[in-house]
């Protein structure tokens, strides 16, 4: 099959050297994808739901200390460990977009996928959080995205609703999707333009060029999961 030979279609590059750790991506993601807030107590216990989160690490010894931010979301692995372990095919690979899909109404909540995700990118609906949204706030909900009820797993979809929208628009206008036309919420909100999204199969797209940067690395490369997200980090030696 043609799709199998493709290295991947939609991909992302995150430039950690310009990321300021402002968490705008986290907020934008929550608003775009109807991610509920879980409340003070549950969030404090470690049940905050985020499809993207900014990992903060400290580098150096006090007082010469500086924070290091790393936004991490589902890496849309080409060989995703989460997929084959699901007993009911609730998380599957999209051959067209080359991303991982989560089928909410097929999920029965074994949570095996989340255990097997080396990036800990998945969030679980422990309670009916989306039902707890106070009344006027439910008008904020994005009609293009399913509101999940309790007992199902969810995760970053690369804003698949925006991808579809862009593809449909291009199709209606009888043209190919332009580079930079489709932007997920996190990339759109990023004030320093640290998140670049686009088509990896087009070698001239902005994301493909960035992904070939000398500062490139992927998370946990040794696991062979073939992530679609590339990180750029100079580690203080800016060569390229």
């Amino acid at each position: 099959m043609a799709e199998e030979k493709q290295t991947g279609r939609w991909g992302m590059v995150i430039d950690l050297d310009v990321c300021t750790g402002c968490n705008a991506c986290v907020t934008a993601c929550a608003m775009e994808n109807n991610i509920p807030w879980t409340g003070e107590e549950d969030a404090g216990y470690g049940r905050g739901m985020h499809w993207i989160r900014v990992q903060r690490y400290w580098e150096g010894e006090y007082p010469d200390i500086s924070p290091h931010y790393q936004p991490v979301m589902c890496q849309q692995c080409g060989r995703a460990p989460c997929e084959p372990v699901c007993p009911v095919f609730a998380t599957v690979h999209s051959e067209e977009q080359q991303i991982n899909l989560q089928v909410y109404n097929r999920c029965i909540g074994t949570r095996y996928c989340a255990n097997n995700c080396p990036y800990i990118a998945r969030s679980f609906n422990w309670f009916d959080y989306s039902q707890q949204i106070p009344t006027p706030m439910n008008y904020y909900l994005n009609p293009n995205v399913t509101v999940r009820r309790r007992g199902v797993m969810e995760k970053c979809t690369f804003c698949v609703q925006r991808i579809y929208e862009g593809q449909e628009r291009a199709k209606a206008e009888g043209r190919a999707v332009r580079d930079g036309e489709i932007v997920p919420a996190c990339a759109q909100a990023c004030p320093t333009d640290a998140i670049i999204f686009g088509d990896l199969s087009d070698p001239d797209s902005r994301v493909s060029k960035a992904a070939r940067n000398q500062r490139r690395y992927t998370l946990l490369e040794e696991l062979g999961t073939e992530p679609k997200v590339t990180y750029l980090k100079g580690e203080g030696t800016y060569g390229g």
């Binding site: 049940r47 699901c86 029965i108 074994t110 095996y112 422990w126 309670f127």
Partner: protein, 479 residues
């Protein structure tokens, strides 16, 4: 060589010391079949007010802690449990693995010891097989309890949905489903088959509702040659076939962990390591139950003797050593591999905030059995064995706790490290413990706890043989 063989069915006059010692063994202390039947029947119908009080208490515990708490959790959300972001599996899975481990006892004692013709197994095969069935019944609840949406659990059953999508047969959870179904069905049948002659015995000796039930269950058993031949054939097929099934069940449970990429879980030795742990835990539970049965069930002190605790104690020592070997093998290779994430997890196990669990596991599974079970007097003292075997099972529970939540809590990204505190899991786990004990107590008054015909067959097969000036126990192969 001239051999004088003396059948034990007839009383021997002039018993000397050597023989007196042999007669402490069940097989050399034969009683007429009639009396054995009477003893077993009496043990079944004899109940005390204390028995009913315990049954009522356990029934309340099951109702409240299992069905009440579980129902409340279904209505509210799985969030009532303590599971959280990196620790998606907690005490539910720990208890699941624990019960599946307990269920290995019946098969081990009954099938493996039967295949190897270990004579000491005879009086307690049924007690062990009952543990298998009830342990599985308790354990099989957990894959349901821990689901986020238990009301659609049947989507795991191999049948297609409206769009002809079948379950994913590459998922270890579907393997689990198939393996546990196979094991539950086959171990229940394996409990039932050798029970048929005893049910016929009970049928002949009861009236009223008991008679009606035993009559239906005994399938019109008369004891003809054809019936015995069929039974022998079927038991042989089962004994040989159920052993690999038993191995596969706990191996597949271990694969739930081992096929994943989580550090420390991803280990090729997990299959046999889990099996050895399951047998250690299962055989310990058999000893625990035997000691309790001996003290509470009428006439059981005739059937269950110190020799049986002794023999099982030796097995426990061997399996404790085997467990330590596998544990160390897994630990050393993981540690030596030098993969940073793995080392961090191992370090977290033995020196994190829950390190006392890891250290208790070592003490209960290795230190205590090794220091005590080599001693014949300890092995033959029921109350000491009760304590030791209970501790071994606590240790095995801690082992699974170390493997599941304590490993998940400490994965590759330090940002996501977190600790896990069980909440409603504890109540539901107590509920299934009560369910297991309740089922067992009820069964002990309904199912002949001792396979009478097997004991009698064994007693027929045992002789004292005179070789020179010595008298030696001899077993003829009647099977």
């Amino acid at each position: 060589m001239a051999v004088e063989a003396k059948s034990l069915s007839t009383p021997i006059h002039g018993v000397d010391d050597e023989e007196a010692e042999l007669r402490e063994q069940l097989m050399f202390d034969p009683r007429p079949r009639e009396e054995l039947n009477r003893m077993v029947m009496e043990s079944m119908v004899h109940t005390t007010p204390r028995y009913w009080a315990v049954v009522a208490f356990l029934a309340v515990v099951v109702l409240v802690c299992l069905f009440g708490a579980w129902g409340y959790m279904i209505a509210t959300g799985i969030g009532l449990a303590g599971v959280r972001k990196p620790v998606y599996w907690g005490v539910f899975i720990v208890t699941f693995v624990f019960w599946i481990g307990i269920s290995h006892a019946g098969t081990f004692v009954s099938a493996i010891l039967r295949v190897f013709k270990a004579e000491f197994r005879r009086p307690f095969t049924r007690a062990a097989e009952l543990m298998t069935t009830f342990g599985l019944a308790a354990g099989a609840l957990y894959p349901l309890i821990h689901l986020g949406r238990v009301w659609v659990f049947y989507w795991m059953i191999p049948y297609p949905n409206a769009r002809w999508l079948w379950p994913n047969f590459r998922s270890p959870l579907v393997w689990d489903f198939l393996a546990i179904t196979t094991y539950l069905l086959s171990s229940t049948i394996y409990l039932y088959l050798p029970l048929i002659p005893d049910l016929a015995m009970a049928r002949d000796r009861t009236k009223g509702w008991r008679h009606a039930v035993y009559k239906a269950l005994a399938l019109g058993w008369r004891g003809t040659e054809a019936e015995w031949a069929r039974l022998r054939k079927a038991i042989t097929i089962f004994a040989f076939a159920i052993i690999p099934v038993m191995f596969s069940v706990h191996t597949i449970v271990s694969w739930d962990f081992a096929v994943s990429q989580t550090p420390v879980w991803n280990s090729t030795i997990f299959g046999p390591y889990f099996i050895v742990g399951a047998i250690l835990s299962g055989v310990s539970a058999v000893v625990t139950i035997l000691v309790i049965l001996r003290a509470t069930l009428k006439h059981m002190d005739y059937f269950i003797r110190k020799e049986h605790l002794d023999a099982l104690g030796k097995l426990l020592l061997v399996f404790s050593m085997a467990w330590a070997y596998f544990f160390f093998n897994d630990y050393l290779v993981s540690w030596y591999g030098g993969y940073e994430a793995v080392r961090k997890v191992l370090f977290f196990h033995s020196s994190g905030p829950d390190a006392w669990i890891w250290w208790s596991m070592i003490v209960f599974n290795v230190v205590i059995p090794w220091l005590t079970l080599w001693n014949r007097r300890i092995r033959r003292t029921p109350w000491v064995m009760l304590i030791i075997t209970l501790l071994i099972n606590v240790g095995m529970y801690f082992e699974r706790y170390t493997i599941v939540p304590m490993t998940l809590a400490h994965q590759r990204f330090p940002f996501d490290w977190g600790t896990y505190v069980p909440r409603i899991e504890i109540i539901i786990s107590i509920g299934t413990l009560a369910l297991f004990i309740l089922l067992y107590m009820l069964a002990s008054r309904f199912i002949p706890m001792v396979p009478v015909w097997e004991v009698r067959e064994g007693q027929e097969a045992h002789m004292i043989r005179q070789i020179g000036k010595a008298r030696v126990p001899t077993v003829s192969e009647l099977e």
